[in-house]
Each structure stands twice: as structure tokens, then as C-alpha cells.
Symmetry: C2
Subunit: 416 residues, 2 copies
């Protein structure tokens, strides 16, 4: 434990020192560093591939599923993607130094200027490309990062971070601007999230248990998302063909993602006409229904209370008939996760009632829940989707990794 504590302390102090230098690093230098990181990864494919092969071998021996092994694998094509993703992040507008507000309340000039947050701890799971994307987004926003990826990808991630640090050094940037926690212990995370005054923010991504552990231990601010239990409510005035297409796209376009549809709430007035359309659009999806919906859905299983809370991330959908928009909103309030919830309706009044009542990060109207995405929203590369209410809500891009300071420019101004 003492060895681990010293390891973490040294890392955090080095990150803090690097973050002071990043504060005034020019946009041009950051772009150069991102380019150098890409070149280093491109040049070091052999070592990265070998490290990845070792991860895959250990993963097979430890019995990882085929899907997990596939996520872990760094093919040559995936390394190409990593390199081009760095170029995309380099090309984003630099967020730092932007004047986001100007006032002249009383003689002096008051500016709110965008600044880096400082030192970020990023916790995530298996895919090795996340290591590079996360490091790049943190650097682009002027933050020093401490990365802690899934242990299955440990060799791959450390090989990638070696290239990243080489790139930083080649561009004249402190290599401690990006560091990797090469220790599997959970205690390392527990220590990191208690470094108030040195670490400024923790962003945990992964299983709910990990995130709850972080929240439980943290003294540093945390931005997170626990899960995505996304709903669509189909109102009595909905265009039913459109609603069925929206629901099917929300469920099927990529069922394993946090913004995929998990629950369908249907107004009783159109349930008998609408539910057969749903069933026809979603062959292969297991439906779990409340008694009224089940009567209209041949072959559907009975939904249990647990079904309403569940994030399936699979070809399963729970369906419920409701008596009103208000009942739908109350259901979403009770069982939902405030991630992405929508309405299909042609009634402008009903739409506004729903939008006012439902307190989710993203509320969709006549649109697929799958559209909740930083790239689609035009925010650039996305770091995740926050279901928190403080600082960042919904998709997080580089701007969400910044804060601001106030600059008060006077000419001898005093307080009277």
C-alpha cells in the first residue's frame, strides 16, 4: 500500500506541474503535439501490435468472451482509425482563451475567459483506442490527464501511452501531461479520487459498481453517467408510422449503447393500432409488456417490476400502455435514468408539456434517441454522455472539459 501511495502521489504531483505549463501552451503547440503523438503511434505499430497480442492471449486464457476480445483487438485498420482520430481532434477549434462573455457593469471591463480545468483523472474500460482519444481530448482542452483503463487492455494501453509521451516530448511538451496508471489495484483509483487540491475532476466510465465506488470515495468532483434507461412515449396524436420507425431505429441501430431505447410507453387510445406496427418493425426483439400491452402483443412476456429499471443493452424492449402523457412522465421520473427520453406526437401543446415535465439530459421530439451523440450534435469528438446536472449535461466534448475565469480590467477602480 505504501508503495502504491507513493506511486500515485508522484504521478499526481507531476500531473499538477504539467498542468501549470499547459495553462499557457499555445493552440499551435497543442496541435503540433497531437500530430507528433499520431506519428509516434504510426511509427510504432509493431510494438503496439505485439503488446496487443499479449493482451489478447491473456484475455483468451482468462476466458474473455468473443465480443470482449473483439473490442480489445488492435488491428492495423484500428490503428489507422486511432491515427486519423488524432488528426480530427487536432483540427477541432482550440477552446482555450475564448472570451465567453464581456460586461462593463461599472466602468471596468469584465471578461469571462475559457480556461483548462487542470488535472483530470479518466477511468474507463477495455477498448484501447479510448486511451488515445481521451488523452487527446484532455490535451486539446489544456488539461493534464491521468488515465486508468481496463486491466484487460493494460499492455496495449501502456504501449500507446509510451508513444503519446514520446510525441509530447518531441513537441516540447511536458510528457507528464499524459500519464497512465499501470497498476491493477482498485486502491489506486480510491487514492486518486481523494487528491483534492491536486486533481480537479474525475470522469469514470464503465460499470455501475465501479462508478458508485468512485462516487463513494471521491472528495474530488465527479462527472458520470450511471446508465441509460431511455424511453419513448407515443402520444395519442402521434404519426404512428413515424413513431414506429423512430422506436425501431432507437432500439435497433446499435442496441448495446447507452442511448438505445429500452422502454416504450404507448397512449391507450392508439395502443391497439400502434403496437402491431412496433412488433412488425422489430422482429427478433424480445418484448416484455405490462398486461394491457401484452394483450396486444402476441408472444410478449410479462414485464416484472425489475424490467422497468433495467438497462438491457440488448435486443429486449419493455412496453407499457399508459392513460396519459402525465402518467408517462411520472413513469420516466420514477424508473428512468435522466439520460435520453422522448415523445412522438403531433400536438404542440402535448410536446411542450412533455418537454417541461421530463428532466432528462436530452429530451427528443419525434426523433431517434440514438441521435444523442456529441458528433451528431456538432460538439466534435465525444468523451461520454453525462447524466449529471452540474457542469456538463448530455454529450461531453472538449468544451465540457474547460472552465472559465473572470478577468477584471480596471484603471485604478476601487470599491466604494
Amino acid at each position: 500500500m505504501e508503495g502504491l501511495r507513493e506511486y500515485i502521489d508522484t504521478m499526481v504531483r507531476a500531473a499538477k506541474a504539467a498542468s501549470v505549463g499547459l495553462r499557457t501552451l499555445s493552440a499551435r503547440s497543442k496541435t503540433a503535439a497531437l500530430g507528433a503523438m499520431a506519428s509516434a503511434i504510426d511509427a510504432d505499430r509493431a510494438a503496439i501490435g505485439a503488446a496487443n497480442a499479449r493482451d489478447l492471449e491473456r484475455g483468451k486464457a482468462e476466458g474473455l468472451s468473443a465480443a470482449m476480445l473483439d473490442r480489445l483487438a488492435l488491428t492495423d485498420r484500428r490503428i489507422d482509425d486511432i491515427v486519423s482520430s488524432l488528426a480530427e481532434i487536432a483540427a477541432l477549434e482550440d477552446p482555450i482563451g475564448e472570451v465567453i462573455g464581456t460586461r462593463r457593469p461599472a466602468g471596468f471591463l469584465l471578461q469571462r475567459v475559457r480556461t483548462p480545468i487542470g488535472v483530470l483523472v479518466m477511468i474507463y474500460e477495455s477498448r484501447p483506442n479510448v486511451t488515445v482519444d481521451t488523452a487527446a481530448l484532455c490535451l486539446k482542452s489544456g488539461n493534464a490527464s491521468i488515465l486508468r483503463g481496463g486491466s484487460e487492455a493494460r499492455e496495449s494501453s501502456t504501449a500507446l501511452v509510451r508513444c503519446i509521451q514520446g510525441g509530447l516530448a518531441a513537441a516540447g511538451v511536458d510528457r507528464n501531461a499524459v500519464q497512465y496508471v499501470d497498476r491493477p489495484d482498485y486502491e489506486a483509483i480510491d487514492m486518486l479520487v481523494r487528491q483534492s487540491g491536486l486533481v480537479d475532476l474525475v470522469v469514470p466510465r464503465g460499470g455501475e459498481a465501479l462508478i458508485r465506488r468512485v462516487v463513494e470515495h471521491a472528495t474530488v468532483p465527479v462527472i458520470k453517467h450511471y446508465k441509460g434507461v431511455c424511453h419513448i412515449y407515443v402520444d395519442e396524436t402521434a404519426d404512428l408510422e413515424m413513431a414506429a420507425a423512430v422506436a425501431a431505429n432507437s432500439k435497433l441501430q446499435r442496441p448495446g449503447t447507452c442511448n438505445a431505447l429500452e422502454k416504450l410507453l404507448v397512449h391507450e387510445a392508439i395502443a391497439a393500432r400502434f403496437l402491431p406496427l412496433v412488433q412488425a418493425k422489430m422482429p427478433g426483439v424480445e418484448l416484455r409488456a405490462d398486461p394491457r400491452a401484452r394483450a396486444l402483443l402476441p408472444g410478449a412476456r410479462a414485464a416484472t417490476e425489475d424490467d422497468w429499471y433495467a438497462e438491457y443493452l440488448d435486443l429486449v424492449l419493455a412496453v407499457k400502455v399508459v392513460g396519459s402523457l402525465e402518467e408517462a412522465a411520472a413513469h420516466i421520473e420514477k424508473y428512468g435514468s435522466s439520460h435520453t427520453d422522448g415523445i412522438c406526437s403531433r400536438d404542440a401543446g402535448a410536446i411542450e408539456r412533455f418537454v417541461g415535465l421530463v428532466d432528462s439530459a436530452v429530451v427528443t421530439v419525434n426523433a431517434s434517441t440514438r441521435l444523442n451523440d456529441g458528433g451528431i450534435f456538432g460538439l466534435g469528438a465525444e468523451l461520454g454522455i453525462s447524466t449529471d446536472k452540474l457542469h456538463a449535461r448530455g454529450p461531453m466534448g472538449v468544451r465540457e472539459l474547460t472552465t472559465y475565469k473572470w478577468i477584471l480590467r480596471g484603471n485604478g477602480d476601487l470599491r466604494t
Copy 2:
């Protein structure tokens, strides 16, 4: 303990239920409720005065200082101020529902709309007027509040909250929109700050020990300010008369506040000319100086290492001679509290270097640190000054008590 837990659970659930209603409460209803609160307080002066007299009597018996008793006292004039402060908050622009961003990234319309945060726990110390201001700012921003004021003001605060709840009820608003924790136990706070999912934010104000205890226990996000160790660096090119006036105003205008000047850093090139001006402008201020400054300040005491970290809140100022702007910035980085730090200079390049290097919530240029104030900044009534970097930095007004949601308005839009 079980009784306390049940008390807190009931309170938090009632606040959450009230917050759902506040989400869609109109600006007009909130204004009416604030007006009714003012009327109720105005009408109930006798009971409020009697409650305050009991607090004062107990405070005297417990040996509170004259300054503390003065802060606690609710004279008729102070009740007038409370009533007019409610009118001012009622007159602020309603922040909720404001569209703070519109995009059309791909066919559909995307709006970012300002919404309440939800349920706020506000922890503060003795002055009873803070109870009313805090409740009013939370209501104006559409949030349900749970208030926990200092125990010295317990009777006064509960009498005021009785009026506030009467006003809410008279305006047809759920009286649980504002609740007061009428229990002196610290355990009540420990429980409140662990109510993730029901409480959305905790804002502790008060002594550093209390705030650290909240941060240590909280699973709910916290916005805080530990202390204000404010610096002014006087550059070699400064207008020395102006700089002396700025420093004196920063120190003397109200020494007991968090944005009062505590440390003066002076460039060696002008120290011999500048320090006598400082001493002449601040008779009655005890100066504690490093060896070089002490040689120029007759009668000054030697500053200890602790002096550089200290928030005096008193007529004491620490003074240090530095060799460069960079040395000043490094000193502020090490010893400061990231609250309010400034430069006096006539060199535009030096000013920009300082503004880039110093990572404080407010950076002042040729201006008094005392100008860091929500009212002066034009933010309306202020809830406090955040030295955190997440969500709100610097002065916090009603807008800083809001969040946003994204509304995606489509017409059958799907993800491809």
C-alpha cells in the same frame, strides 16, 4: 440516530416532490410567491423579533462575542432590508426556460434550455437574513431548498422559514419548496450530503472545518469556497500611486470579507519607492514582511511561513518583495486559494502574462480585489463566491443555480 434519519429522509423526499412541481412553475407564480413571502415576514415582525430575542439571550449566555451578537440581531431596520431584498430578487429576470443555445447540426433543431438543478442543500452560518436570501434565490431559480443555518440563529431562522412557507402556501406553491433543518446535530448534515439521486447539489458556506467535513462525506456534488487568500502583485511598471490606492482599498474597504487583500507582492525594482506609500495609506494595519520588505517598512514584523497561507480577515497584511512577475505567479500558485488575485501594471505584455499564468476565479488588473462581487458584476443577488472549477466559478447568482437540458426537435429523424 434512527429518528434523525427518518426526519432527514422525510424532508428530502418532500423536497424532491416539490422540485418536480417547481420545474414547470411559471415566472409569474414564482414572483407572486416571493411577494407573499415578503408580506408574511412584514406582517410577522413581532414573532420574528421575539424569536430573535431568544437567540440573542442564549447567545449572550453562551458567551458569543459582541461582533457575533451584532450579526445575529434582527432589528426592525434589518427586517426592512430582508423584505426589500425579497423584492429585488423577485425583480430579477427569471432564468428558467431561457434558450441558451440553438443549433441545427443535421436537419433537426437542437436547443439547450436553462432548467433548475432540482434539490439544493444550503449550509451557512449565523446571519438570519441569509436564510431568507438563500431561500429566495433557490426559489427564483426553480429549485427546492433544504436550509441548514447556524445554530446560534435557530429560533430566528425557524420563525423566518415559517413566514416563507406561509407565503409559498398563500401563493399556491408547495410549502416544502423551502424547508429548514431544525436539528443542531452535525450528523444531519452528514446524512443530507449522501442523498444521491434525491439531493442534486450542496453549497456549504462557513468555516473551513465544516466545509472539509462536507467534502469528506458527500456523495452529492458540492460547490464551495474554502477561503480567500487574495494577492496583489505590483509590477515594476505600475502607477505607484494608483497601486497604493488599489491595495489600500482592497485591504481596508471591508477587511473581514473573503475578497479582502491579504498579501502584497512587490517587484524589487520599485519596492523602495512603493512600500512607503503603502505604509502611509494603511495606518493601523499590521504589516508582516519578508526580510527585503521589512528593511523598507519600519516597524513591520517578520512574516512566518504560516503567514503566506493565512486568511487574516483582519487589519493584517503580509508583504513580500519578488524578483519577477513569474516569481509572483509561482508564489500565488503555491500559497493562494484561487479566489481573487491581481496585478497592478502599465505593461500590456506583463498584464497578459500574469492573466495567463494565474489560475484564480477572478484575476484583477489595476483594480481592487473587493470588486469581486455578484452585485457589482451585474449578476444580481449573490449566493457566495465559488473557488471551485466545476459548474460555477467566482460570484454565484441565480444563473449559477441552474443547469440545462438539450431538446432535440425532429420530424422522424433517425440515426443512420
